[in-house]
Symmetry: C2
């Protein structure tokens, strides 16, 4: 098993990353005939699992939908948008509705096993996390959703660098997604989704100039 | 001006991106003597501005802190954490406290100017956004924060691919950051920060194995 220290420092050229961020856009129309290949898809899944989260708690499930029948039912619960049906892979980001000390202990157990350290050595870590839980009791669902949005941001950027198109989808009916995905009585709730695949050559949105406020408005320096 | 269609499809090798995500970790101790060079930093700023957001509304300001005196005051309002002081650049992500139709019109004005389309042609787009605003009146601040977390996710991933170290910082006192950054009477509030720079060679955290729940727990497929 390798630690971060064992990996060489990455050095993708800045111009290549910026080119990718200019290339990407929120795809309106996917090419239903083009599917993401297994090697690239497996890298995307691994990147999802590697998403950083607060305290390392990973309060999420990533639901990957490729089944044609299920996909065909999604536009009706996505404000009529066709991307969930026409894309190659739909990622639904579901995050914890609440969190209890049992969850924290399950997480610490995985820390203890991975790093081969006694669980007792994590007592202080546990105390800090439980303190956070207590202080944030009324906003754990909100916090978990925010962690899900870290995953969304990393997913969209990573997809772009790989040359995979995406469309983030906030315009969905989360409760109805929960029912379709069997989440409704579980610990995780649908928060947001991201359709992934390849743009249709006739998607006119690819020819729209990207709109951003000028850099000297969005960025302030001290 | 180029549109997304005018850029070549990116193709960073999957293994290179995954290597970078294994290389990254939440840096505990930055090397205070190593600064991010201007070319890379300018790419990071451009990547921030290019972050996708719901409806393209960009409800954020990115505050970049490099001033040594200001940085020295930040550990005291960051639960004692030293990263804001020792890092090269600290990015504070501030997002809208609320949003009114004036903001939406300013945004649509920028769409109209960039794409050289009459403002009237955006009437339907305006209606949809105002409908969203109305339906979400009690959670605009939460929504804007989520958009800020998209930026955080894209920022951490992009930094890793560039070989820049980072530490996401939720453990800060947002109200005190607001005061130090002059945000307290403005439209934007501090939500989260990200310290960026280079890991100190003595940061033991780089030698910890990364802990993740197994992929078949975090990912479900339909």
């Amino acid at each position: 098993m390798k630690t971060p220290k064992d990996y060489p420092a990455p050095s993708v050229p800045p111009a290549e990353l910026l080119g990718a961020l200019h290339w990407r856009y929120a795809v309106k129309r996917f090419d239903p005939d083009r599917k993401i290949g297994p090697e690239v898809w497996s890298a995307i899944e691994e990147s999802l699992v590697l998403t950083p989260s607060s305290f390392g708690l990973q309060p999420w499930r990533f639901i990957v939908v490729t089944d044609a029948e299920l996909k065909a039912r999604l536009p009706a619960v996505s404000w009529g948008q066709q991307q969930p049906k026409d894309c190659s892979h739909l990622v639904v980001i579901a995050t914890l509705r609440s969190m209890d000390s049992e969850y924290v202990d399950r997480f610490l157990q995985s820390v203890s096993e991975t790093r081969k350290v006694p669980i007792d050595s994590l007592a202080n870590y546990r105390k800090v996390i439980l303190g956070f839980l207590q202080n944030s009791a009324d906003r754990i669902s909100e916090w978990a959703t925010q962690q899900g949005y870290i995953a969304l941001g990393q997913l969209m950027a990573t997809a772009a660098y790989l040359g995979i198109d995406a469309c983030p989808m906030e315009g969905i009916e989360p409760g109805k997604y929960d029912r379709l995905l069997g989440l409704e009585h579980g610990d995780y709730a649908t928060r947001v989704a991201c359709a992934m695949g390849y743009r249709h050559s006739a998607d006119g949105y690819a020819s729209n100039l990207k709109v951003r406020f000028p850099m000297d408005i969005s960025i302030r320096r001290f």
